[in-house]
């Protein structure tokens, strides 16, 4: 299973349960650039290139990271989950559905990162307080919504998962 980095530009990543060969990268490339430019997974977005906005959020080994700050070649042995791996296209997750229904999406550029971050939050804290939602998601910047509808969406999912709604 372990993949060694061979001649410096060939390695593989485990993305959304699939082993992906990265053949034309250079060692210093960020995970974000490799996902987008080498693997064609365009769901993670680049908006600040320095880990401030969270638009590029993905899970690496069950830890939420800014993929713009992770060197792709440093995570060859770790499972990576991107927005594309959150749920099947024909069956959006409860978080995805709640974002759409609650009005948590405007331009949508921050949305994929926020969906990944919200899933992570609700896995770790199934019944988050409003302060916890704000603190946990504070690494994801949204310029359109003012956050109110996003908080509402996360709260709706928490209630439904606890059996408080359909």
């Amino acid at each position: 299973m372990t993949t060694t980095i061979g001649d410096g530009d060939h390695f593989s990543l485990h993305v959304n349960g699939i082993r992906c060969e990265v053949t034309d990268s250079w060692l210093g490339e960020s995970l974000l650039d490799v996902l987008r430019d080498r693997l064609g997974l365009l769901g993670a977005k680049g908006a600040c290139e320095q880990g401030e906005c969270g638009s590029c959020s993905v899970m690496v080994d069950d830890v939420l990271v800014c993929s713009c700050l992770v060197m792709a070649a440093s995570v060859v042995d770790q499972p990576i989950v991107t927005i594309e791996g959150i749920a099947p296209i024909d069956a959006p997750s409860d978080v995805q559905a709640a974002f759409v229904e609650a009005g948590a999406v405007q331009c949508g550029f921050c949305t994929p990162g926020l969906i990944v971050a919200a899933h992570d939050l609700l896995e770790r804290l199934p019944r988050p307080s409003e302060t916890q939602i704000r603190e946990e998601l504070a690494g994801n910047v949204c310029r359109c919504t003012g956050y109110g509808r996003i908080i509402e969406a996360v709260q709706q999912v928490a209630v439904r998962r606890a059996g408080g709604g359909s």
Binding site: L42, G43, A44, K45, G46, A47, C48, E49, Q50, E52, C53, S55, T82, I83, E84, I86, A87, I89, P92, V95, Q96, A97, F99, V100, E101, G103, V105, Q106, C107, G108, F109, C110, T111, P112, I115, S129, T131, I133, R134, E135, L137, A138, G139, N140, V141, C142, R143, C144, T145, G146, Y147, G148, R149, I150, I151
Partner: protein, 774 residues
């Protein structure tokens, strides 16, 4: 008129997906799945990357440009400069004064000088580094006053004053019993949309034309400017809206459009350019920094007698929309208050700072911070509270502006204030509720967990802001929107060139069609230039304008359908109406589903909607220059640590005049999002320039409001349908970010005043910790 259909209907009676309901966005699922294609996600077979060389100096003469080393780098396909621009050398929204590439002088840090196309962004970066430009430094013009007093030589052939406009109204010698004045400063704010500038240009075979996929606010205006620079007929330049990751005014001007097309046409291959965040700060216009002196005269009981003001807006190196921003500022100097006499003098000037242009609020943000700060001073001087002074002066429908223009729209200023005041104050104690384990919730303290605010030092303050905002374009501009509605065999298709930037026009356009025509399923065609212009997604105008065009197109199609059904079913078309999804004969009660009635029929109508013409301002600033107005009130509650200068905004209450909420959830999204940007300007956001160099052009140093900075918002929608609006609905995008800023600053002042009975003037935004604690 068109406005009464839903207003008279009982609440909750609307058919799902029609006007007044909140259906989900048609692009919502794609966006939450990461499948929505933003302009930065676009590519094409054989696509090359482009990049732009920019000036490191605010003012310098270009002595020479040596491209030879760049050409020799493997993978570099072309390098272009001003010498390669086939058509117009300059572009601009109002005045064409900005070079496609600087050739003789550079006028701001970040001005484009050359562009390269290569096989990879890294190759582009190396090529840019290999270009050698020799500069001769010039004395930079950085003080706007020196542009006005002519003590600095012109930095542009068009001169250093972009526009000067005065307003003289009533008796200029009038005085009041009470006089208050102040000089207010507003910092340069960045729109900071998350989706960085990106475009893909695909040339036609033989270079006869080009298709540009780009995130923009106004496809047709871009096309006009691009075609002129490319020396191509307008119809040979086709624009397609690339997915837009926010705009807020920053995509109204050309940035990478011409460069991308030039590279693609030169090479006969697709080229994409994508800006970095650092480049984005240099590559688009910003909110004008401004200095506003204002003096209010009032009677001893607080009635405004006269306003005097001098406004100086720093437009930076190129004109962009500075002249229109200035006009908005000077014509909104009075705020939403009656004012019989005024003397206002405004300048928009050119400097070697970053160019400034449109940002949400467009000149009114700056004016509002000044007039609302003044209203609080006036209240204090008259011994009135901030609500009472505003109620006493509140504008009503029919009242004249200081331009002499009567406000003919619904003007529920008093109701905005009273409804805001009626909203509950926060029930959270200072510093927030303790957590479940009884411990202090530090995240609710000013400064959060990373700072050391002491709960016992924190003081809570309350402040007010009220605003008037013009809607649509002004000063005689031929402002129109186009929509095409095609009903073919029961399938309804809408086409328009209205830029969807996140605001949700793609949601409300089908709502309008469902309401007017009784269809359930509406197909949205691609947003591009293959239909007439929709005008810009700016000035809070698209719901009114493109909404008006969609409404008119649907009504025209409906008339044609009535005629068809009249012929085929022997019914008088004049007796037909749409009720739900049925066509109904109002006399006989005969009905038929719209879907059935339209089977086998093709009706295709394209309609342009125009608002009533506006006029120019004369030399004394008199004239009916604006189209329509909307109003809003904000009440801010803040917790302040006066020792550390830290602020936590606890709550914003607002009542907004929306005319009619076509999609209440979308309206709420505009309100909350706009308040976040108003909060940013109040206490966080400012582009810092030192000697013309930007010092914080990144998201680590340019601070944006996060989840933890944003307060609870409590909002009331004031729905008094405006008879002048095609659907009764006013634009709602800009008002939320206008008076939220002065409300927050007033709340900070109120808190500080409680500490020592004196407080701090806080005449500058954003308010910095040092302004509070030193």
């Amino acid at each position: 008129m068109t406005v009464v259909e839903r207003v008279t209907a009982p609440a909750g009676a609307a058919r799902p997906g029609t006007i007044g309901t909140s259906p989900t966005r048609p692009d919502g699922v794609a966006k939450v799945q990461g499948r929505f294609e933003f302009s930065s996600d676009l590519s094409a077979d054989g696509c090359l990357w482009g990049a732009t060389l920019r000036s490191p100096h605010p003012s310098a003469r270009i002595v020479s440009i040596d491209l030879s080393a760049a050409w020799q780098i493997d993978g570099v396909e072309t390098v272009i400069t001003a010498a390669d621009v086939p058509g117009a050398m300059h572009y601009g929204l109002i005045a064409q004064d900005q070079p496609v590439f600087a050739s003789e002088v550079v006028r701001y840090v970040g001005e484009p000088i050359a562009a390269v196309a290569a096989d990879h962004p890294e190759t582009c970066r190396r090529a840019l580094e290999a270009i050698v430009v020799e500069y001769e430094m010039l004395d930079a013009l950085l003080d706007p006053e020196r542009a006005i007093d002519a003590s600095h030589p012109p930095i542009h052939p068009d001169g250093n004053v972009i526009r000067h406009q005065r307003i003289v109204c009533g008796d200029r010698s009038a005085t009041g019993d009470v006089v208050v004045e102040g000089t207010y400063e507003i910092g340069m704010q960045d729109q900071a949309f998350l989706g960085l500038e990106a475009a893909l240009a695909v040339p036609d075979p033989g270079g006869s034309g080009v298709e540009l996929h780009v995130a923009t606010q106004w496809l047709h205006e871009d096309r006009t400017q691009i075609a002129a620079c490319l020396d191509l007929p307008v119809e040979s330049v086709r624009l397609v809206l690339g997915g837009v990751g926010g705009a807020f005014g920053a995509r109204e001007d050309i940035s990478l459009q011409v460069h991308t097309c030039l590279l693609a046409l030169r090479l006969g291959r697709p080229v994409r350019i994508a800006y970095s965040r650092a480049e984005s700060f240099l590559g688009h216009v910003h909110r004008h920094p401004a200095t506003i002196w204002m003096r209010h005269h009032a009677t001893s009981d607080g009635e405004i007698v006269k306003i005097e003001s001098r406004m100086v807006f720093d437009g930076g190196a190129y004109a962009s929309t500075s002249s229109a921003v200035l006009i908005n500022a000077v014509t909104h100097a009075q705020g939403p208050y009656r004012c019989p006499n005024a003397v206002v003098d405004g300048y928009a000037v050119r400097t070697n700072h970053l160019p400034c242009g449109a940002m949400r609020g467009f000149g009114v943000v700056q004016a509002c911070f000044a007039h609302e700060s003044q209203m609080d001073k006036l209240a204090a001087a008259c011994g009135l509270d901030p609500v009472e002074i505003r109620l006493r002066n509140a504008m009503r429908t029919g009242d004249p502006l200081i331009t002499g223009q009567p406000v003919l729209n619904v003007a529920p200023v008093e109701r905005c204030i009273r409804d805001t005041a009626a909203l509950p104050l926060p029930d959270t104690p200072v510093g927030g509720f303790p957590m479940e384990d009884g411990a202090l919730d530090v995240m609710r303290l000013p400064g959060g967990a990373g700072r050391t605010a002491d709960r016992t030092d924190i003081v809570r303050g309350i402040g007010w802001g009220v605003a008037i905002k013009n809607l649509m374009y002004s000063e005689g501009f031929d402002d129109y929107s186009t929509a095409r509605y095609r009903l073919a065999d029961g399938v309804a298709t809408l086409k328009f060139a209205t830029s969807e930037v996140g605001q949700g026009f793609v949601t409300i356009a089908p709502q309008i069609a469902r309401t007017i025509l009784g269809v359930d399923d509406v197909v949205l065609d691609r947003i591009d230039t293959q239909v007439g212009s929709a005008g810009s997604t700016s000035a809070s105008r698209q719901t009114w304008m493109s909404g008006g065009a969609v409404d008119a197109a649907c009504r025209t199609v409906r008339e044609r359908l009535f005629e068809h059904v009249g012929r085929t079913h022997d019914v008088d078309p004049l007796r037909l109406v749409v009720d739900g999804t049925d066509l109904v004969d109002t006399v006989s009660g005969w009905k038929m589903p719209v879907a059935e009635a339209s089977a086998g029929v093709v009706i295709d109508e394209t309609v342009e909607y125009r608002h009533p013409a506006t006029g120019e301002l004369d030399e004394n600033g008199q004239g009916n220059c604006h189209t329509a107005f909307a109003f809003v009130a904000h009440r801010a509650v803040v917790d302040v640590d006066p020792e550390l200068g830290l602020v936590k905004v606890v709550q914003i209450a607002t009542a907004q005049d929306v005319g009619r909420a076509l999609n209440p959830l979308s309206v709420l999204g505009q309100i909350e999002g706009g308040i976040a940007q108003g909060l940013g300007l109040a206490v966080m956001e400012e582009i810092i320039q030192v000697d013309g160099l930007i010092r914080n052009g990144n998201f680590t140093d340019y601070l944006l409001p996060t989840f933890l900075d944003m307060p609870d918002v409590v909002a009331t929608l004031i729905e008094e349908p405006d008879p002048h609006a095609p659907l009764g609905a006013k634009g709602v995008g800009e008002p939320p970010c206008i008076s939220s800023t002065p409300a927050i600053v007033a709340a900070i002042r109120d808190a500080l005043c409680q500490v020592d009975g004196v407080g701090k003037p806080l005449e500058r935004v954003p308010v910095r910790p040092s302004d509070i604690c030193l």
